[in-house]
C-alpha cells in the first residue's frame, strides 16, 4: 500500500456516517532497533472533518506565529482527531472504515 492512496480518503464509522478525511498517517519509531533506525510502526490516522490538505500541521503543534496565518489554518482543521490502528476495520483509497466503538484521541504532537 502507498501512503498517498490513504491520504484524502473519506473516513466513515461502521454505520457509514462520514466523519471527515484522512489528513495524515502517524508512525512511531519505537520497536527494537533494526540496521540503522527501528521499524516505523503505524500508530493511527489523523482525521480532519473538513479538509485533507494538512499543509502545515498547525492544528497539531503549538505554533501561533505568524498571526493570522497560523490561526486561519488551525481554524480550518479544528476538530481533527487521531484514530488508532486498532480501531480501523478497512483501509482503501476511497474509504477508511472504523470499527464500532472507536475512540477519538487528540491529534496534537508533543512539540
Amino acid at each position: 500500500m502507498i501512503l498517498t492512496d490513504v491520504l484524502g480518503s473519506d473516513v466513515v464509522d461502521n454505520s457509514g456516517q462520514r466523519l471527515g478525511e484522512v489528513s495524515d498517517v502517524r508512525f512511531a519509531v519505537d520497536a527494537s532497533p533494526g540496521q540503522l533506525l527501528s521499524k516505523a510502526r503505524m500508530v493511527g490516522i489523523v482525521v480532519s472533518p473538513r479538509t485533507a490538505s494538512s499543509f502545515l500541521g498547525y492544528e497539531r503543534r503549538g505554533i501561533t506565529q505568524p498571526w493570522p496565518v497560523a490561526q486561519l489554518l488551525r481554524w480550518r482543521h479544528r476538530g481533527s482527531f487521531l484514530v488508532l490502528w486498532e480501531d480501523i476495520a478497512v483501509i482503501g483509497p476511497r474509504e477508511v472504515v472504523l470499527r464500532p466503538g472507536f475512540t477519538a484521541y487528540e491529534s496534537t504532537l508533543a512539540f
Binding site: M1, I2, L3, T4, D5, L7, D10, D13, Q17, R18, L19, G20, S23, D24, V25, R26, F27, A28, V29, D30, G34, Q35, L36, L37, S38, K39, A40, R41, M42, V43, V46, P49, R50, S54, L56, G57, R60, G79, F81, L82, L84, W85, E86, I88, A89, V90, I91, G92, P93, R94, E95, R99, T103, A104, Y105, E106, S107, T108, L109, A110
Partner: protein, 140 residues
C-alpha cells in the same frame, strides 16, 4: 459529499504517547530532502510504501500494525501531482532499512551511488559532462 458528523470535543481523549520518535507522514516525511551518508542530496521523499494491509479488505482484529517498508521517489511524483498511479515496477524504492535518521531532512546510511534513485544523475555524469571540457575539475 455529505457533511461530516462532528465528534463532540469532550469525547476526544488525550492520546497515548508512544515512547519513541513520532512521525506524521505528511508533516515529517513527504517532500523532505533525502541526504546520503556523505550529505549528498539523493532525492525527495515523493511517497511512502507500507507493508500491508490489502486495500479495501477487512483487517482482522489484533492484526499487527503496518510498518514503512520503503520511501518512494521518481515517477510517483508525477502521479501524485496529476493523479493516477505508476506501475509497481516503475517505483524507485529506498528501503526503510537504510534510513539512518529523520530530522528536517531524511538521512540515509548508505552512499547515493548505491541507490537506484540517482541513476539519471549518474547517466548525465558519465555521458554528458565528460564531453564538455573542465567538468571533472574543481572550479577555480
Amino acid at each position: 459529499m455529505s457533511k461530516a458528523k462532528r465528534i463532540h470535543p469532550l469525547k476526544i481523549r488525550p492520546a497515548p504517547r508512544p515512547a519513541g520518535l513520532v512521525l506524521d507522514a505528511q508533516l515529517h516525511l513527504l517532500d523532505r530532502q533525502m541526504l546520503d551518508v556523505d550529505g549528498v542530496p539523493v532525492s525527495t521523499v515523493d511517497d511512502v510504501e507500507l507493508s500491508g494491509p490489502e486495500p479495501d479488505e477487512r483487517i482482522p482484529e489484533g492484526a499487527e500494525a503496518p510498518v514503512i517498508s520503503a520511501l518512494l521517489t521518481g515517477p510517483v511524483l508525477g502521479t501524485r501531482i496529476f493523479g493516477g498511479r505508476p506501475p509497481s515496477s516503475r517505483l524507485i524504492r529506498i528501503p526503510w532499512s537504510v534510513v539512518a535518521g529523520v530530522d528536517t531532512v531524511v538521512k540515509l546510511g548508505v552512499r547515493s551511488d548505491s541507490l537506484d534513485a540517482s541513476w539519471v544523475e549518474r547517466w548525465l555524469r558519465h555521458h554528458v559532462i565528460p564531453r564538455i571540457p573542465g567538468g571533472r575539475h574543481d572550479p577555480h
